[in-house]
């Protein structure tokens, strides 16, 4: 980790037109004169000719490479730069350790909790309920519980996007999340990662979802329709009797690329004189984008992983989407999901007003 960071640091430094020198404390007391040195000015030797104008790295002080010889010795400024870099590395090392510890605790405490509940629950049931609650009964009661909890929330998102930023994907955990979302009463669930892993393994994902449905809820698999997004037209739709929820698999192609394809379509119409450029506006583009993807905009995106970015997830559609971050999708619990839904329920959308 450090080597790559340091290589990044080095890149940062070498792209700077001046040699790798940093501000000394002595220098920073100068008034801020100039803020930026362009490469041209350095090369043309204009740097520092005028007394008034002094190039500074970022206004924190001034630093000229032509007045370099007049400055304190090179060694001193270089050692300051080294010191700052070391402090920076130490800070990031601390943060890394903190993150790892937090993640480790989260996973282990959850596992411990699950184990304890697994041990105690049968005992509790044994005391309070003389009737034998078999596995099917337990699942049915869980399903009812999920549904009931969903109804206690002030508002439930219509469409939830699961955005996985982690590189290693655990399909079982994703399937759990999808099944819980459906059980709570969310109509549309999308699954996305920026490397297209879900798109390439959609059959595996589907199998896992069906398996987890069976295991967690004991549901008849024909009750849910699993539809997979393809570019352009929808394919592989499994016809069902009654569809309560829809699962969509998305990849970066469904984002910017589909906007570009819509733009190409409109330009072709203009080329063939079916439209003029003045006819193009937000509504036209929006309806074109909705043609191929017949789902409402995501109300909520649950982002899993340490990367703080949408990584290309449906840029057009997420204009009013709440983005809630979760630490990881690995060993995620129903309580984590419900906590996020509770956060969503209390947020207030003013829509510009």
């Amino acid at each position: 980790m450090f080597s790559s960071f340091s290589s990044n640091c080095r890149v940062n430094v070498t792209t700077d037109p001046r040699p790798a020198v940093r501000m000394t404390r002595k220098r920073v007391s100068r008034p801020i004169r100039e803020l930026h040195v362009t490469q041209q000015r350095v090369q043309s030797g204009k740097v520092g000719r005028k007394k008034k104008w002094q190039p500074a790295r970022c206004g924190v002080g001034s630093n000229q490479n032509d007045k370099f010889l007049d400055r304190p010795p090179l060694a001193r400024t270089q050692s300051m730069a080294l010191l700052y870099e070391m402090v920076w590395r130490f800070l990031h090392a601390l943060l890394y350790v903190q993150r790892t510890l937090v993640a480790w605790f989260r996973v282990h405490i959850w596992r411990w909790k699950r184990a304890v509940v697994g041990l105690l629950l049968p005992l509790a049931l044994g005391f309070h309920n003389p009737k034998k609650t078999g596995p099917i009964g337990k699942r049915t009661s869980r399903r009812i519980r999920f549904g009931a909890e969903g109804r206690t929330l002030e508002k439930l998102p219509l469409h939830v996007g699961l955005l996985i930023t982690e590189e290693e994907i655990h399909f079982t955990d994703i399937a759990n999340l999808v099944v819980w979302c459906m059980a709570v009463g969310i109509s549309y669930v999308s699954v996305y990662d920026n490397q297209g892993v879900f798109r390439r393994n959609n059959s595996r994902l589907m199998e896992e979802i069906l398996k987890q449905q069976q295991e967690l809820l004991g549901m008849d698999s024909s009750k849910y329709s699993v539809e997979f997004m393809k570019n352009g037209t929808d394919k592989q739709e499994h016809q069902v009797l009654s569809c309560q929820s829809m699962v969509k698999v998305l990849s970066p192609d469904d984002g910017r690329l589909s906007i570009v394809q819509a733009a190409q379509q409109l330009c072709r119409d203009v080329e063939q004189r079916e439209k003029t450029s003045k006819d193009i506006n937000v509504t036209v583009l929006d309806s074109l984008l909705r043609e191929s993807k017949n789902i409402p905009d995501p109300d909520l995106v649950l982002k899993f992983g340490p990367v703080e970015s949408t990584l290309g997830f449906l840029p057009w559609h997420i204009r009013l989407t709440e983005i809630i971050s979760m630490p990881s999708h690995v060993d995620v619990s129903y309580d984590d999901l419900f906590g996020a839904l509770q956060r969503y329920a209390v947020c207030e959308q003013r829509l510009g007003k």
Binding site: C9, G59, G61, C267, I280, N281, T310, P315, R319
Partner: protein, 335 residues
Amino acid sequence: MSWIRERELSLLERLTANILKAGPMPKHVAFIMDGNRRFAEKTHVERQEGHSQGFEKLAETLRWCLNLGIHEVTVYAFSIENFKRSKEEVDGLMELARQKFNRLLTEQENLEKHGVCIRVLGDLTLLPTDLQQLIAKSVVATKAHNKCFLNVCFAYTSRHEIANAVKEMAWGVEQGLIKSSDVSEVLLSECLYSSNSPNPDLLIRTSGEVRLSDFLLWQTSYSCLVFQSVLWPEYSFWNLCEAVLQYQLSYRSLQKARDLHREDQALQQMEADRSCVAELLQHRGNGKPMDAQSRQKELLNYTASREERVRCFLNALQHKRDTFFSDLSSQAVVA
């Protein structure tokens, strides 16, 4: 008050800035300055005062960004959705904008000293004419500066921006400058209001809301998003440092994702060119199959001609936009 505060950082702030700068720093930061009205409520002042304080905070934040080596800042000042607010509030905001842009025009020397280039992004035709003229004057006056850039999104929503870019490309097709097959992700990016800026590295939203609210949706696909619960008028240097730290932590993954996307983009462009050439050859075809070398040559020729077309189109588009601003600006002078 001035657009850029002339204030030095304290010793501790300077130290922190230097430490942060040892790592990768964002070159372009976008701010959603949310929380002015809540701040006004909290401190029992008028809403207008809240917005005014918000502007002061903007000036201070610009100074911090310059200190940290962030030379490009984009701010979300007024959304097209904000027109839905009460007439009183909207008029108040327009008046504030008039004051600030007027102030800007009197600060030419200061802006030149710092080399600040102000750009205003959005559908300016929705604004009152006198404000449009003021804005045009400010933009034209600071156009030549190139040390740091402030992009103010006024009467802006991202969907409008994208739809407008598509409209511009359609205009290009109408004028015969480009073909519909030339439309690509790169070309669309060049047609956005923000085409003269690189994509933001870091987007910061204050006041605790965790949504993008139609701001730079296209441009922030691979940016670091930081949501902070502090209200905008209470923003501090340490909040900014926290956001930059967050950026540094996500830096490697974001670089990787961006590189992957760029590779995909290049591949898609090549595929598109290939299929266009194949179509072209089919139309031209005289039945003889072409060998690989001449096919490659055709492909290179096609790519070169496409790039030339696109270049001419983008020049024409830039000229159209520059003319819009200079016309408005000269109207202001006459008036």
